[in-house]
Amino acid sequence: MSERVTITVDGIPLEVDAGELLIKAAEDNGTYIPRFCWHPRMKPVGMCRMCLVEVEGPRGILLTTSCNMPVSDGMVVHTESETVKKAQEGILEFLLINHPLDCPVCDRGGECPLQDQTLSHGPGESRFVEEKRHFEKPIPISDLVLLDRERCILCARCTRFSDEVSGDPLIEFQSRGNNTQVLTFPDEPFASYFSGNTVQICPVGALTSKPYRFRARPWDLEKTESTCPHCSVGCSIEVHTSQNEVIRYQGVDNDDVNWGWLCDKGRYSFESVNSAERLDTPLIRNASGQLEPASWPDAMEAAATGLASIVEAHGGNSVAGIGGARGSNESAYAFGKFMRTIIGTNHLDAQLGDGLDPHFLVGSTPRGVINDLDTAKTIVLWGPDLKEELPVLYLRVRHAAQQGAKLIVIHPRRTGLDDRATFKVVYKPGEGPALLNKLVEGDPGLAEVRAAINEGPVVGLVGRTGLTEDPRLAEAVAAFLRELPKATLMPLARRSNVYGALDMGVSPRLLPGRVSSASESGKAALREHWGSLPDDFGRDTIGIIDGLADGHLKGLVMMGSDPVRDVPSGNRAAEALSRAEFVVAIDTFLNDSAAAADVVFPALGFTEQEGTVTNLEGRVQKVTQAAPGPGQARPDWSILEDLAHRMGGSIGATSVNVLFKEIVTVAPAYRGLTWVDLEFGEGRDGLVMPLEEGDQPIQYVAVDPGLAPTKAPLALHSARTLYDDGVHTRFGPSLERLVGAPMAYLHPDDAARLGIPDGGEVDVETVQGSARVQVGFDPSLAPGTVFVPFNQGIGQNLGSAVEVKLEVVS
């Protein structure tokens, strides 16, 4: 609790936190001081001068900006005196004299702080008769953002965001005085993963985004609060629709999660929702082997018959389910219940062979939350490049490091956080266990790092740095970090609602509510609700693919999953699908895996259905329907209920509400949660489950399994980049352009040794596959490492083995 002081604002005494900025303290207590440059999530710069107020002091009453003025006890402030009014009107007049006032054709018109504050705090007339400043009308500064310098009021919110918040200062003030303008540097576009935030925080229409330009008037928009589905961070968003079409997402300032920021992939992924490629009718594979549109009854019949005949012939455990991480908790719960009770199998997995132990992900102790970063003395990141995989978590770590937390980054390659890291350790893939041992044993070479991480509170961000890394290394790291002073752990997996799906029991090792599938009492309790529960051993996704490929498994149900593109060994997944006797896919797109199915059901996607999701903290948040889906698409759970019915049963999935109520009854970790709370109450920023400590069934203590290092002359580092060939990017015209070309990256010394020129062509070969690609140099790699971005067209065929060979083609 910080110290409280009393200040007087316009004659009213207020008790506020000592040191709080005056503009904020006043606003929190009902006095709005106009502003343009000040943003609550960035440092004050006092540039626009709009927030001038009068403060009484020893030298008399002084006009001063309130955005950079910390309150002090006894401070007397006037925000509405004649002097203040004149000053504020003067500033607004100055801001308007060169503003083009093209509001009728400006995207911002109707939601524009310049318009709004001109009305509330501006002069009533214009006295300016000179020629206005002219610039070329909007110039593209990146593939996504356009800049209109005539509209710009030079508040520097965008330039400061890029520098201070996102760490890619690609836009800056240029020239000076009356010619000052925001610009990119020559030949260097504003290629930031976070550029959309600058559009959102621009207080005028100077920055506009290509996907939204001229598509709507703000007053026509329907606004629905929801949660971004792109990754597991769970950013709060507002979905804006016009005439039943989603036309943009805006970040919502959630104190616990995203602070209003979004990454561009999340922000602009709305385009894929509207894609013409969306599945809008069921499909059945016809006699000639082609998928063709079918009616719902025919498709249901085909799917039910196909699955039932396999179950009858080979038993329920000859069928498997993959998916659940791309939808809501309710859909995932329905999927798990369908697979376990209707099909009768424990072969089900929401992870796609690229994740971590499910108990580790959902039951780690002591489990941390994102806000722990702000009180941490030390942050250790041994895991994915957050900028690429969990972008807004990257922003939060970056902020914490800038505020003074020591940041240690351990990764095989440069990461977005390197410039803020106190220590960065690079290692060759496969040699992680040896590095960890050195760290644990206090190797002199790592003495400084070891000393640094002993200062708590410590937050450990642990995950797989890449797909060739043994997932157990993350646990070994966690086992070490959890013993540090006041340590909390955040095990990291990136896919959308994967934590929710695991919490709903979509895993061979979990039952709903973070209960181990090995727990007899857990199984007994669930049987009471579900009636039946298979007892057999369950396979994870890699096991399922192996089972299908070798004929042990016969049938597969996929729900919102694309193993062919997402499993580290995609060609192996494709082979498994082709060997399967019967495959059902429930999806929003006919992805590579669904294209191999016998029956395909069109599902409603994000923004098209209600529900809850769970982020990487275990925080449950609402997702909301904002628009209807395409054609005949239906909610996944409803499709599963229908299918169950056709197969002679039911999963009781009559509505989302019914499912939610069942979840909070059946799933121990989700007890006590109410829809009302999430929608209107304390839970609007999400609630971290469980609400009560005793409701957490799994208390998973990570242990070091004692891995041996994998030695390879050349080691493969395969990791995701933000813009990949997933559905959000592939079916979103704006993002699609941003996907990089497939490349393999080498340390220049290795390239020299192997005689490979920059831009040369090589065949990359692993035991699992090969690919022909161009080579780029990357001196940030540990020598002996080959980096191939996964999911940019080639990486998924190389598998997860560390050893790699290069054959020079040219």
Binding site: G46, C48, F128, R176, N178
Partner: protein, 424 residues
């Protein structure tokens, strides 16, 4: 009496060389200073009542006293002399660079500084070369570097050239520029003495201010304080320009009147004309008229009369001057030099410039006079002296001075211009 320019007057051909400097008593003060306790040197500077020569006239010793007790700390020499009509530092840099260096070394020793920076205006190539050469010679002679003259005191000095912005004469913009950032004034607090260059405590002093240090150390603060009237002690270098017969720099003991200065040192108004107006202390100072010729040239008397002695630039305008054009010239300068970060200065100075320009081409309107004043008022509320400001730094209000001056002293003339479209 002359302190700063006696060497260059006596030895115009080589006053900038180390040999001449040493031959004329140079670096003697340094030896004395190195044998003194830093606190004693600071006490002498306080006793001297030396006030900053950069414009604000803040007592140097007091400024030094604000330096926070954090190391490293820096001394930065402000040689970004750019105000129109000001060219005194140029002469000191060019003609007696060792005098400045000696001042810097003494001050650094007094302040516990081991790295000092000399920031020189980018358009001063010759002064910069002279300082660079002097610095090289001083390093070679052991006056700068490790263990100076065996005292154990280490000092490095870096010379940095500006990139052509007047605003970098504002001390915090100068620090930004030195750090490689845009030359934009910082919000204060924190003041440089607490958080300056690279976030460390920093003293920024003008070239002329520091050039006085060798004399003060040699002769004592009390001796310096005894020169000139109270509050304006010491000698001072004035840059006299405009319609005088003998423009140039003049080192004087303060206290004579402006009339005497213009007549006796400047040789009077050219072509025997009458004086119309003069700027007593640089382009940002409110103008004086013939009525002010009796004002004594001291910091306090000029302030009392409603202007400032500023950087010591006196610009004289005779009776043929078109005051609107003269004001436009000054306002244009400030509009051009506005850094652009804060609204009133960026927008307001150019607006004032455009209005004045419109007046000069016969496009003025009667309402423009009050509009000029009200726009000025929105930059400098109350149009008072000393100015209040809606801006971050005083550059915006500086552009107000000439506007206010012509509308105060020559309103009839401006009105006539608006009515007839031609200047009288």
């Amino acid at each position: 009496m002359k302190i700063l320019t006696s060497r260059m007057d006596a030895h115009p051909s080589d006053s900038h060389t180390i040999s001449r400097y040493l031959a004329t008593g140079g670096y003697r003060s340094l030896k004395k200073a190195l044998s003194m306790e830093p606190a004693d040197i600071i006490a002498e500077v306080k006793a001297s009542n030396l006030r900053g020569r950069g414009g604000a006239g803040f007592p140097c010793g007091v400024k030094w006293g604000f330096l926070a007790d954090v190391h490293p700390r820096y001394l930065v020499v402000n040689g970004d002399e750019s105000e129109p009509g000001t060219f005194k530092d140029r002469q000191l840099l060019e003609r007696d660079p060792h005098q400045l260096l000696e001042g810097v070394i003494i001050s650094s020793h007094a302040l516990g500084v081991n790295h000092a920076f000399i920031y020189i205006r980018g358009e001063y190539p010759k002064p910069a070369r002279r300082v660079q050469q002097a610095l090289a010679d001083a390093y070679a002679s052991g006056y700068v570097g490790r263990n100076i003259l065996g005292s154990g005191f280490d000092l490095d000095i870096t010379v940095h050239l500006g990139a052509g912005a007047y605003i970098c004469g504002e001390e915090t913009a100068l620090l930004n520029s030195l750090e490689g950032r845009r030359g934009e004034p910082r919000l204060k607090p924190p003041f440089p003495a607490v958080e300056g260059l690279y976030g460390k405590p920093t003293i920024v002093n003008n070239v002329e201010t520091l050039s006085n240090m060798p004399w003060i150390v040699e002769n004592g603060g009390a001796a310096y304080a005894a020169i000139g009237p109270e509050g304006s002690s010491g000698t001072r270098l004035f840059s006299l320009s405009g319609h005088v017969r003998r423009p140039g720099n003049h080192e004087i003991v303060m206290g004579m009147t402006f009339g005497e200065l213009i007549e006796d040192l400047g040789g009077g108004i050219r072509d025997g004309r009458a004086i119309k107006a003069f700027i007593p202390g640089g382009a940002s100072a409110p103008w004086f008229t013939a009525d002010h010729l009796d004002v004594p040239v001291t910091i306090d008397d000029v302030a009392k009369a409603g202007s400032m002695l500023g950087s010591g630039a006196i610009v004289v305008m005779d009776e043929t001057t078109d005051v609107v054009k003269a004001a436009l010239s000054v306002v244009s300068f400030f509009a051009h030099e506005s850094c652009g970060q804060c609204t009133p200065c960026r927008e307001g100075t150019t607006w004032l410039e455009n209005m004045l320009r419109r007046l000069t081409v016969g496009q003025g309107r009667a309402v423009d006079l009050d509009l000029l004043l009200d726009v000025s008022d929105n930059i400098s509320p109350g149009l008072a002296w000393p100015p209040r400001q809606t801006t971050i730094c005083p550059l915006g209000p500086s552009a107000v001075s000439p506007v206010l001056s012509i509308l105060t002293h020559f309103r009839d003339e401006v009105e006539a211009l608006v009515t007839t479209g031609v200047s009288s």
